[in-house]
């Protein structure tokens, strides 16, 4: 089986870098730099995150993007050749949902591939659940899953769902 490239995107603080760090079975590549804005954390991704893992015998390459719209040129670079996409949103920060929605629309317009929306911080209630986020973002319920990006057993669920969607139907998205 050919390796599958998957892009991991979403707004700042969604958990993209954490997700890749948690799941990768090989040494990750990260490019976090000191943040000069108040974004609720000290570091932010300026180029990419990269990690790999094997799932049901299938080798996956995970490419994480920066979150800020000023880095949208990296979204274009990193989505090239991607066969699937995971868009992460922070479940305890509904203010971020409209940006996540715009980002998803943009990424799919560039690269129409199967995708899953992952709602992070399910371990930190109060938090929006996947069904509520699906309704809010106008997504079919099967495309939205909840996760804790810091826990390997939980972080893997969006990828399992994505593989199901990719292998279940040949038609993209």
């Amino acid at each position: 089986m050919e390796p599958i490239k998957i892009v991991v995107s979403g707004p700042v603080g969604a958990g993209k870098s954490t997700f890749i760090r948690t799941l990768s079975e090989t040494e990750i590549v990260d490019t976090d730099a000191r943040s000069s804005e108040a974004i609720g954390k000290a570091l932010t991704t300026v180029a990419m995150d990269y990690g790999t893992l094997r799932l049901d015998g299938q080798l996956l390459y995970l490419f994480g993007t920066p979150g800020q719209e000023r880095f949208d040129f990296m979204w274009d670079v990193l989505t090239q050749g991607a066969l699937g996409m995971v868009l992460l949103v922070r479940g305890d920060k509904p203010e971020g949902f409209p940006q996540a929605r715009r980002q998803l629309d943009y990424l799919l317009s560039q690269q129409p591939v199967p995708y899953v929306v992952g709602v992070t911080r399910q371990d930190r209630p109060p938090v929006w659940g996947p069904e509520e986020v699906a309704l809010y973002m106008g997504q079919p319920p099967e495309r939205v899953v909840g996760l804790n990006a810091t826990d390997p057993g939980s972080a893997v669920t969006p990828l399992l769902r994505l593989l199901e969607l990719m292998l279940g139907a040949d038609a993209p998205s």
């Binding site: 730099a33 000191r34 943040s35 300026v46 920066p66 040129f73």
Partner: protein, 118 residues
């Protein structure tokens, strides 16, 4: 002098020292413009931070030691990105005939001065 004034002053001196430069952008390491003379500063600042961040990581992964600079060379010129301490990025655009050795020499010195102010 405010911090911004000091940075503007350093920018002016850099352009005097290297008159062939097409543009200069000083940005934060997370890609926001600080001082510049470029109409396209927001995008250049973001790209310069990406180039520096990725350059550092490539340098580390391929065991090249500490990054000196990241260079993009097109058939009509150069775009060179230097670290200005832990917080800053200095990005220069120069035409293809430019003296890259001289640019490096001056830019590294100015990057150190910028780092002290930042």
């Amino acid at each position: 002098m405010t911090k911004q004034d000091q940075l503007q002053q350093i920018l002016r001196e850099l352009k005097q020292a290297l008159p062939e430069l097409r543009s200069v952008v000083v940005a934060s390491t997370d890609g926001l413009p600080i001082v510049h003379d470029s109409a396209d500063a927001p995008r250049v600042a973001a790209m310069a931070a990406t180039a520096l961040g990725l350059g550092k990581r490539i340098s580390q992964t391929t065991e090249l030691g500490a990054l000196e600079e990241t260079i993009v060379r097109g058939n009509q010129g150069y775009f060179v990105v230097y670290a200005a301490g832990e917080k800053g990025v200095l990005a220069l655009a120069a035409p293809s005939g430019a003296n890259l050795g001289l640019i490096h020499l001056e830019a590294r010195e100015f990057a150190t001065r910028l780092a002290q102010v930042l």
